[in-house]
Amino acid sequence: MTKEKIRETILRALGQIAPEADLAQIKPNLRFRDQLDIDSMDMLNFIIAIHKELKIEIPEADYPKLLTLDDCMEYLASRKGPEAK
């Protein structure tokens, strides 16, 4: 899976929980919560969406690794393994 694919997946999931947000403006190193006015329930829905799209289990302990776009990319790339270049 390419980095681009992962990025698309993340943005699509964000779009579902915050449909009014301008995703092009998202800064990769800032927390979603601070940019998009989302709360823990939204975050939960975001993680569930990622889980469904990429078919990976995300343990609760790993939730803190999914707070920014950069963190997400890194975490998911590691989880999806060698395909990600």
Binding site: E20, I47, P59
Partner: protein, 388 residues
């Protein structure tokens, strides 16, 4: 060949019971002969035959009750061959339909809260896109009258025409303003607060979530909701609606959950029968409710009938909430941020996750003593998370 059918013997007869045959197979009958006795709801009646011939076949035996029109016997006409080619069924046509099984009416749950508004006022408000809940009624018993809505229409007209989105937000702001102003004007609030050790609850949830897939995992918020719902059973007066000068206890517990909307504003839709849902159901419904609230697709019943409201502002970092009751409810529970604090436990100072729960309650309906018992019950429930 002719059929002899169960005759209609009165305007209200739908079926009859054959009591006895006066004739047997092979007997010759003529028009007007009494052929059988039939019992109706009213009486036993001798029935006559309208065809001449020989009784070929008897289709219904004494003691049987059959609908009017059912063939009882076949009579072959004089000289007719005995071996009739037409079956009795073909002659009879389709049998009369059996009476339908009784259908039980669906059970329709009662709505516990209803806006007091005249039909004309409701229509005018709808025509002008005004939320009637945001209007204070001046009529008898607080009924919103046409005049009240006309005033609201004028007030709205006086404002510059806003963009659609701004309009929605303005309306919501107005609704919140009206409800909160009314609450502060009419309801004598009292406030209680307690800090709850969440150690066991959080440990239980972490354990429980280990076995759960992503979609099934619980958040501690549902434990708080369930604890509140169960505690209400012990102090039902807090689960009431104020109407016409008195509190009317609600039969069901529908906890309203305050949900802030992106871009501002607030709704508090109900999680129906909160006390009767399992944690898993509650989690699923809670998540669904938040999503739908933010998508603007709530059902009117969810908005109309909460019996108490729970608000949690912990995400914003506050520790204690002093809430305003949403009329006609009589209580509101607030939760602050889950924080690590030094805690005395069995004589030791330890670090524990704790949360501050507050109660805002209507003093017309309950007193501080009962409110205190209610908060204590919430705490007790949270210390036994496996029983929630």
């Amino acid at each position: 060949m002719a059929q002899f059918v169960m005759p209609q013997l009165g305007a209200d007869m739908s079926a009859g019971k054959l009591l006895r045959w006066r004739k047997k197979v092979g007997d010759r009958v003529k028009r007007g002969d009494i052929i059988a006795d039939v019992e109706t709801d009213k009486a036993d009646i001798e029935v006559e035959v309208f065809n001449a011939g020989v009784i070929d076949k008897i289709l219904v035996q004494p003691g049987e009750r059959v609908p009017v029109g059912t063939p009882l016997a076949i009579i072959s006409e004089e000289g007719e061959a005995e071996k009739a080619s037409v079956s009795p069924e073909a002659l009879a046509g389709p049998p009369p339909a059996a009476p339908p099984a009784p259908v039980l009416p669906p059970v329709i749950p009662l709505r516990t809260v209803r806006l007091h508004i005249s039909p004309a006022a409701r229509k005018l408000a709808t025509d002008h896109g005004i939320d009637p809940a945001a209007i204070t009624g001046s009529g008898p018993g607080g009924r919103i009258t046409l005049e009240d809505v006309q005033r609201a229409v004028q007030a709205k007209a006086a404002q510059p025409a806003p963009e659609a989105e701004v309009d929605r937000q303005t309306r919501m702001r107005q609704a919140i303003a009206a409800a909160m102003a009314r609450s502060k004007r009419e309801i004598p609030h009292y406030y209680l607060s307690t800090t709850i050790d969440m150690n066991r609850a959080m440990a239980w949830i972490a354990q429980a979530n280990l076995k759960r897939s992503v979609e099934e995992r619980l958040v501690y918020g549902v434990l708080l909701l369930k604890a509140v719902a169960l505690a209400l059973r012990e102090t039902p007066e807090l689960n009431s609606v104020w109407s016409d000068g008195k509190a009317i206890p609600s039969a069901d517990v529908h906890v309203g959950v305050a949900i802030s909307l992106r871009g501002g504003g607030l709704v508090a839709p109900a999680l129906h029968h909160t006390d009767r849902q399992s944690l898993d159901e509650l989690m699923k419904n809670f998540r669904d409710l938040v999503q739908r609230a933010r998508a603007g697709s709530l059902r009117s019943s969810e908005l109309g009938d909460p019996t108490i409201t729970v608000t949690s502002l912990g995400e914003q970092g506050v520790e204690t909430v002093f809430g305003i009751i949403y009329p006609p409810q009589v209580a509101l529970v607030g939760f602050g941020k889950l924080v690590e604090r030094p805690w005395s436990f069995e004589g030791q100072i330890v670090s524990r996750p704790v949360i501050t729960a507050t109660l805002s309650a209507d003093h017309r309906v309950s007193d501080g003593h009962r409110g205190g018992l209610f908060l204590a019950a919430i705490e007790r429930k949270l210390q036994a998370p496996d029983t929630l």
